[in-house]
Amino acid sequence: MLLIDCPFCGTRPELEFHCGGEAHIRRPERPGDLDDEEWAAFLFYRSNTKGLQAELWHHSHGCQRWFNALRNTVTDDIEVTYRMGQARPDPAEVTTQPGSVDGTAGDVVWVMADAGGERP
């Protein structure tokens, strides 16, 4: 079972989470403008990376927040987790040790990732 560092709650076992597949696949602003091939590429095609892959994770049995994780699909090491709206970190700059059990929690704040505003 993986250990996953929720950016809002800290390190928790995998069974609190649900994986939502590859991250950074932006939904087109105007899906109606896409032809079938472009829509199919968005809907069905995934990179299936061997190595570091950005994934969406949902803390479904926890804070209900979705966040991103860089997971090495070969080793299952999760190099870093980061909040929605943040750019994919450069793994070279990531200092988190894989599989570390430090239990530090991220700051629990109500930030609208893109808009930057407070939640109602």
């Binding site: 250990l3 105007r30 109606g32 829509w39 479904s60 209900q64 979705w66 299952d76 059990v101 109602p120």
Partner: protein
Amino acid sequence: MTQPNRLPGRGRIDRSKPIVMRFNGREVPAYEGDTVASALLANGIVHVGRSFKYHRPRGIVAAGSEEPNALLDIDRGSGRREPNNRATVVEALDGLVARSQNHWPSLAYDLGAINDLVSPLLSAGFYYKTFMWPAVGWKRVYEPFIRRAAGLGNAPVEPDPDEYIHQHGHADVLVAGAGPAGLAAALAASEDDTCRVIIADEQAEFGGSLLHDLTSTIDGKSAAAWVAEAVARLGTRDNVRMLPRTTVAAYFNHNHIALAERLTDHLASPPASLARERLWQVRAGRVIVASGAHERPLVFTNNDRPGIMLAESIRLYINRYGIAPGRNIVIATTGASAYQAAVDAKAAGLFVTIVDYRRRDDIGSERQRATQAGIEILDNHTIVDTDGRTALSSVTVAPMTASGGVGDAREIACDALGMSGGWTPVVHLVSQSRAKLTFDERIDAFLPDRAFQCESSAGACRGTYVLGDCLREGHETGGGSAGEAATVEGTCGTSFAAVRILPTNGGRARDKAFVDFQNDVTAKDIRLAVQEGFQSIEHVKRYTTTGMATDQGKTSNMNALGLVANALELTPPDVGTTTFRPPYTPTTFGAFAGAARGDLFDPARKTPMHDWAADKGAVFEDVSQWKRAWYFPESRETMHDAVQRECRAVRQSVGIFDGSTLGKIEVAGPDAATFLNRIYTNSWLKLAPGRCRYGLMLKEDGYIMDDGVVARLADDRFHVTTTTGGAPRVLAHMENYLQTEFSDLAVSLTSITEQWAVIAVQGPKARDVVAPLIDDIDMSNEAFGHMAVREGHIAGVPCRLFRVSFTGEAGYEINVPADYGLSVWEAVFAEGRHHDITPYGTETMHVLRAEKGFIIVGQETDGTVTPDDVGLGGLVSKVKEDFVGKRSLQRPDVVDGRRRQLVGLLTLEPDVVLDEGAQLVANKSEDAPVSMLGHVTSSYMSPNVRRDDGAEPGRSIALGLVDDGRARQKSRLFATTKDGFAEVEVVPPVFFDAEGARANV
């Protein structure tokens, strides 16, 4: 009774505590500290079972968890019976009952032994080659016969009376194995008292090989004294948790380790409060694997007779248990370590002969030790055969000639044979951790190479066999500084020649040289598999079943691998190893299940009205984790009768239904309407507060995901309902879009499923029942019509009152805070008594909605159904530029494809109720493969739908998805039934009140 083979003055058993266990009805006296195996051997019982395939007599081979042969049925009384226990790991207890397995009528006379005589028919893969003819033979004759013959032991039939628990453990260092390397590692690691150390060992006592080592000294102390001191020192440290009788069973991701601890099996009368086993889940900062090594058997003709054991195990039984496994022992070896067994046996007063396959020049200093002890050594000799039916009586040995042939054979009388073909490091755990293995030719073994997770190995499991080196390695791996190593006087050494099979002079067809004792796989089987073209070790394993028994080939894998390599003329690393999988040794189902049994298997979610329904005699069904009232039988009613009665009552008067399980999400915020507009297919911007709308939700692929009524309570507040099972999925879906794609919207989502109890009151008299309980809402049809929502009070309790209908009747869904659910339900029911109110369950709800053709997501839909497929195309907004799934509704296969569409199905025989899931075909006599046109999604007997002649109500109705279904109106199809086909007519999917007038009164 005596213990004829007990040696005086030796062993770690407690001679002041005699016990008596039973084996096959016979009393077996023993001492505390014995295992079942040592107790049997002490009493001269060497024949303890029959083999799996050939039913050959078998004895005890090993002394530890690697035992392949001595599998016994262990009965602890009171329903505590378990087959296939290794006699070598079960601790002997007063009153314990052990029985041998796999024979009929008795252990001594087993009719199954006929298999041994016909063994040429039972070679590798025989079941793929025989039983081919006649074609019906397989099902009628062979399969039933094989099923009866297959399997080891008899599964217990009574429920397990014991409790099992799970516990999380936290360790900076977890040490797997408490032999010399493990103890040294734990001692070093726990020097720092902030370092939490767990050390676990599968045996009852810590110490591993040191417990039977009477030769070595460590810093001038005996091995046993060193162990006692080490254990005592660990015991004084608060940062150390010592777990004996605990198998480090599995190594998962991110240093997640599972340990199986046996808590009560060694107690004659365990306290009732104690769980039998505890499964530990440990997240270890670092794992030190010190799991030791297994001795390899030698492969030679008839190497499986009772009395033939591993040489080191003979040494162990002599030194640790004070037992003579035989009085006249032959040690057959290709290496040095067995010489120590011979020396120790000799010291115990037993007669010993060594048969060494190696040439004199290849034998090291161990030769001198044995000679000094007065032991005869036959070097350059092979074992040609053995004799003795249920106990070994002699071995036949022969010298190897200069040309590599086998010379003149001679018999040596003996009652025990210790074999040693070298050592195999136990790399199971590191292999489970996904570390790479590398082959070390020097010691003919696979060793841990590059670590994959934070772990390291120490001692024999990484090929370090010399005691001093084990201690030093353990010490350093545990974090101790170099140079503090102990001074060690050791044993005979461990070098060996890797010999895959001992040459023999004969070759009778029935001769067998066993590689895998537990699955009865012989060297011949393996050669045959290679001959037949199996080259990959994984294929050879599956074809011959070598290494696939419950011991996972602990003693056999390297011999099998070596034979395959020889046959293919490859080296072992070229052949590779099979994959090691958890658990390391068989682990009870109880340990895995823990407390999750019976009522605790899965959480049961109950509504506030659950007990009321139970009191009324309701039968419940499971819907996801919810317990839902299924139907309410009166007196001796059948389910069918109850459902028909409930269905009639709702249409004729009024029914009451518990809808609390419905998923509920409150969507609030200034952008709530915009958000719903993007999530649902239909439009929400113009829905006025106080109004409800049925909403349809798609996944991005355009297929229906969920549905439900949504009420607008205020401009910025919606009460969303979902299907019972879909609630968590829908919330996650909404949160996903809100947090990732639509994060510009100010909206909050709150699950309110558990906060609101829902009481559905449905039927022509619904208003008459509900209105008298409410004084702050205008209940008239004009003021509060169908699909409206009001907030007010019912029986004094705040409520959200929905005028909605899933039955087609006029009706209300009364939402009240869950704590008031039961009291409001009782108030409604009391009022309803004036109108003959009838409680109804989910089955009636299903029938009533099917009469109206309302879909159930997950029943009419299966993740490949679009709104138009189920006739709900009208709910898809043509105006909205975008919503989740909209673009996919323009996919070519959705627009142009011949889609399966929802239709109604009426059987020509009105009493025939179709099976849900039944296939629909146009032509029932078509040759296979028959063209499937669709399937039945819902099917019920309805008491309300009239027969075609209009005479009397009551006929079967069904919904189905059919290719191009709407174009097939009035056509005839055939639905498959248990006996053949039923003819059906395709009709519109609404059977009752097609114009929908009844909901609006």
